[in-house]
Symmetry: C2
Subunit: 135 residues, 2 copies
């Protein structure tokens, strides 16, 4: 048997989610409003801890809060969970691949420009020229 009721600071420490962020999640309805003690301070239990950990790990995997809301609905809900979750994940992976591709292209362009850069005080800078000239 655990004590299983902690204030917001303990929940924050246990999950690594900042206090303000926890209150923000409550405000936008992602976390339920917990009961309060006599002094109107929030008291959380293990269920809250679990849910908040889920949210945090989802964020670490790059899901948006809306996607996490959806995932939470699937967990608690009743439905074709695995198929739906797979669809969401596949879309998410496709997003990530697109981003990586764009960023690598960017990196290539910038590296090439920087390589042409003499690093001395001459005002002819290939990077600024690339930004300023045509197209």
């Amino acid at each position: 048997m655990r004590v299983d009721h902690y204030p917001i600071g303990a929940l924050s420490a246990a999950t690594g989610v900042k206090i303000e962020t926890i209150r923000y999640y409550e405000k936008i309805g992602l976390m339920p409003s917990p009961p309060r003690n006599e002094g109107r301070q929030r008291i959380y239990d293990a269920g809250h801890l679990e849910r908040l950990s889920f949210i945090r790990r989802g964020r670490e995997l790059g899901f948006s809060l809306d996607q996490i809301r959806e995932l939470l609905g699937l967990v608690r809900g009743h439905g074709l969970t695995c198929a739906e979750v797979k669809t969401m994940t596949d879309g998410h992976v496709a997003d990530i691949r697109r981003k990586v591709k764009d960023l690598k292209k960017l990196e290539r362009v910038l590296s090439e420009l920087a390589a042409q850069c003499s690093g001395n005080a001459v005002p002819d800078c290939p990077i600024l020229e690339a930004l300023s000239v045509g197209r």
Copy 2:
């Protein structure tokens, strides 16, 4: 000799930057307030076109508006342009590399999870389990 004065819509079409965005750039001081005609509408010239194109290409290369502000200062300014620009660019490339690394890691984790996913209606979903189970 060019006509060299166009309203905001023409500037928008010429640069590919949306009208609202141009006004936003003016509000935050990134673009100068252009002269107005009798009817209080903005009239731009080739200088504005050039500056806005610079901003746009900078954004395409992933610079923040603050970084672009700095770059614009260097262009007009007087200083060790090439060296400073190279430093900024190198830092920017390092940022991009970090992002790419993180995203690829994410992609790998998600792909592995999705691969374990049967896609059928069974409620045991490896992705949800990965999110729900401890660390």
